[in-house]
């Protein structure tokens, strides 16, 4: 350095040299920096796109896309967009597990949206446990999935309604009906797998809690996707129950209603079908019996708010059909993820999980316009839940009696203590 040269002075020559070096380094030396900033957030979604419940899986995918498209159109997370990678599990748990593993290991997905029924959700849950990937259980309502601490994992969140919540509200509603109509002899008919067993046991528990005179005179456990319910229906006819509870769903429920109707089953007994009030079932059954009692799954008139009606209409306008129970749950999942991404400004699974615990989001599906991800067991609360009776045309359930979340939470706590989950 000459003595006339000023050591820290930025000369034009030095500026150009440094700028060229930096540019060269950016292009040649650090390509990963610019690529990472533009990298999409890949979300893997195993769901059921074929078979008897394909309509639900398809609605799950549609609802997620409805929300994700809005997020991406608004610029994503600082330019990073969400890319959904959707795969068909065909409703088979082993396939759901295989596909999930592949989505993470081969397709580079950082997050899993498990849009399976409970049978598949437990399989995906084990994959999430093994790989440590952030996982949202979108549709599984089996309570133990998040309630049982032995099953629960810190990286999995349930964004679906929960069986025990439905059972408390259903039990309370059914008990009130039973008291009013003197329905003492009850029977149950539910699918023979985790969700069916779990939910039915809980419903019966709360029915008896609210109406101790109720007596279960028989049970029927048809297989999941069973085509013919004749022997089940005639068994129910023999038992002559005054009321019948079922958590059959989708095509199984519509088949059951079609086959039961020709035996005049629903004229002889009060039918409480928790999964009836979903457009998939309501619109498919050609001769829908009047007066079936059902929990709300998704109907755009409950909660009776402009936001819910607008969401139902927007979905229908885009996809040409009504949303389903799986659809609102899927939209809720996407909104929780989007909120967590915005809050953390990151797609890191651990940071997102931390942000999700206790998070409250605005939602058209919430009782008070919000839904909360309860921190302690990583499951949602505050969603709209209620029961009513069907009519054969829109709005299908004109009056829904809303469940009381204060009561739900109190009884759920007792239920957890009894099951040694706490």
């Amino acid at each position: 350095m000459s003595k006339n040269e000023k050591p820290n002075r930025v000369t034009r020559r030095r500026f150009l040299k440094n700028a060229t070096a930096l540019g060269g380094a950016a292009v040649l030396g650090f390509p990963m920096i610019s690529r990472a900033q533009a990298k999409t957030i890949r979300v893997g979604m195993p769901t059921i796109l074929s078979g008897r419940v394909a309509q639900l899986g398809t609605s799950s995918r549609n609802a997620v896309m409805l929300e994700i498209d809005k997020f991406n159109a608004a610029g994503g997370l600082g330019g990073r967009k969400i890319e959904m990678v959707v795969r068909d599990s065909k409703g088979q748990p082993q396939e759901a597990a295989r596909v999930s593993r592949e989505l993470v290991n081969s397709e580079g997905c950082e997050i899993l949206f498990d849009a399976e029924a409970s049978s598949g959700a437990f399989a995906v849950h084990e994959v999430a446990r093994d790989l440590g990937v952030l996982c949202f259980h979108i549709n599984s309502e089996t309570s133990s999935l998040t309630a049982d601490p032995k099953i629960r994992i810190p990286n999995a969140f349930r964004t679906a309604r929960q069986g025990v919540h439905d059972s408390i509200v259903g039990g309370s509603y059914a008990a009130a009906e039973a008291k009013a109509k003197g329905l003492r002899k009850w029977m149950t008919c539910s699918p023979d797998y985790a969700y069916g067993r779990d939910t039915t046991a809980q419903f019966v528990e709360y029915l008896k809690m609210f109406y101790p005179q109720a007596e279960i005179v028989g049970e029927a456990w048809p297989k999941l996707f069973q085509p013919d319910y004749t022997e089940v229906i005639t068994k129910i006819l023999q038992a002559k129950p005054q009321a019948l509870y079922s958590c059959l769903w989708g095509g199984d429920l519509t088949s059951y209603i079609d086959q039961g109707s020709i035996y005049a089953l629903f004229a002889a007994t009060q039918f409480f079908a928790v999964n009836m009030a979903d457009y998939t079932a309501l619109t498919v059954v050609k001769n829908l019996p009047v007066g079936i009692h059902s929990g709300n799954r998704y109907i755009k008139t409950f909660p009776r708010t402009p936001a819910n009606a607008a969401w139902g209409d927007a979905y229908r306008a885009k996809y040409g059909e009504y949303p389903t129970n799986w659809a609102w749950e899927s939209a809720t999942t996407a909104n929780f993820l989007i909120s967590a991404l915005k809050k953390t400004n990151s797609a890191d699974g651990k940071k997102l999980a931390e942000a999700l615990r206790g998070m409250k989001i605005d939602s058209p599906f919430g009782t008070d316009g919000t839904i909360t991800m309860r921190a302690e067991d990583q499951t949602i609360i505050g969603y709209a839940i209620g029961w009513g009776t069907t009519i054969s045309k829109e709005p299908y359930i004109p009056e829904v009696k809303a469940g009381d979340w204060k009561q739900i939470l109190e009884l759920e706590l007792d239920w957890k203590k009894r099951n040694k989950y706490l």
Binding site: G51, A54, Q55, W221, L237, D258, I262, Y263, K286
Partner: protein, 299 residues
């Protein structure tokens, strides 16, 4: 298990009537599918694994025709005819090429078609489940028979299935065509040497088997929800029926179907959690005592 409930049921006329008719209903629909399966096996000596898909195709065809025409009769006829035509083309173009091959090759061809037909149904009718609904003529209260409950539609189904079974039996045992079919099944080389086109006989039998599956699909459509892949469960039950009755025996298929129907019907009362287990147990017992099935001989 609840053997007391079963004993109570057997003491009550109304319960026996309801459960017997329930068994007949389950059995008769199974018989239509299993009869086609066993007919094809009896003559062609191939196990048509696509038979469940034929049943599915029949149900969907019936749904489409019913939607257009509002006629259940036309829907069932078109289901039977449509699947018969499909079976004919399928046999001529594909199955006829693997008659001499080993079972693995036949299984491969059939399985490929099961997957293709499921996808085709998804493309044409959609992936969501569908329901035809009960035709207006059958939207009636069930009939009370000795205290038992029997839906009018199911009485119609039993009658139709019995009529189809009787026609099939008459054609095979009392007509010249039946004699030719039996001859082709017994000794195709000799039959061919007598100047009879056995290829055409095979194609006709395959089409007839397809027609039976299509008719079963069409007849069941008002009480079964339809979805791609719906043929798998009925295929499994049909196999149980054909194994119990004896592969290739139409009478065996009828007996097997009725036995399975009754096992399921009364089993659901006495052994509700083991009904399917009893079916397989019964099949195993039959195979141990009489490995060729109850009526196990060629038609």
């Amino acid at each position: 298990m609840d053997p007391t409930a079963l004993a109570e049921c057997l003491k009550t006329t109304s319960c026996v009537v309801t459960q017997v008719t329930s068994g007949l209903i389950i059995g008769m629909l199974l018989f239509l599918v299993a009869a086609g399966l066993t007919l094809i096996f009896g003559v062609l000596k191939v196990v048509n694994f696509t038979h469940g898909s034929f049943y599915m195709l029949g149900a969907y065809l019936a749904l489409s025709v019913y939607k257009i025409s509002d006629s259940f009769t036309l829907a069932v006829v078109c289901a039977g005819a449509g699947v018969a035509l499909f079976g004919l083309v399928f046999e001529r173009l594909f199955m006829s090429r693997v008659y001499g091959s080993n079972v693995l090759m036949q299984l491969l061809v059939c399985y490929a078609f099961i997957l293709m037909m499921d996808d085709a149904v998804k493309l044409i009718w959609g992936a969501e489940f569908k329901s035809m609904g009960m035709p207006t003529a059958f939207q009636k209260p069930p009939i009370l028979l000795a205290g038992g409950v029997v839906p009018a539609f199911y009485l119609f189904l039993i009658a139709i299935a019995l009529a189809i079974g009787a026609v099939l039996w008459l054609v095979i045992t009392r007509t010249r065509l039946g004699k030719i079919v039996r001859a082709a099944a017994h000794n195709p080389v000799m039959t061919s040497a007598l100047g009879i086109n056995t290829g055409m006989i095979y194609a006709a039998v395959f089409a007839a088997g397809g027609m039976l599956a299509g008719l079963a699909g069409g007849l069941a459509a008002p009480v079964r929800s339809m979805a791609p892949g719906m043929g798998v469960s009925i295929l499994i039950e049909s196999f149980i029926v054909t194994v119990i009755g004896g592969m290739g025996s139409i009478g065996g298929a009828l007996a097997g179907s009725l036995l399975i129907g009754l096992i399921r019907s009364f089993g659901s009362i006495g052994f509700p959690l083991f009904t399917e287990g009893i079916m397989f147990l019964f099949m195993a017992m039959v195979l141990v005592i009489k490995p060729s099935g109850l009526f196990g001989k060629d038609i």
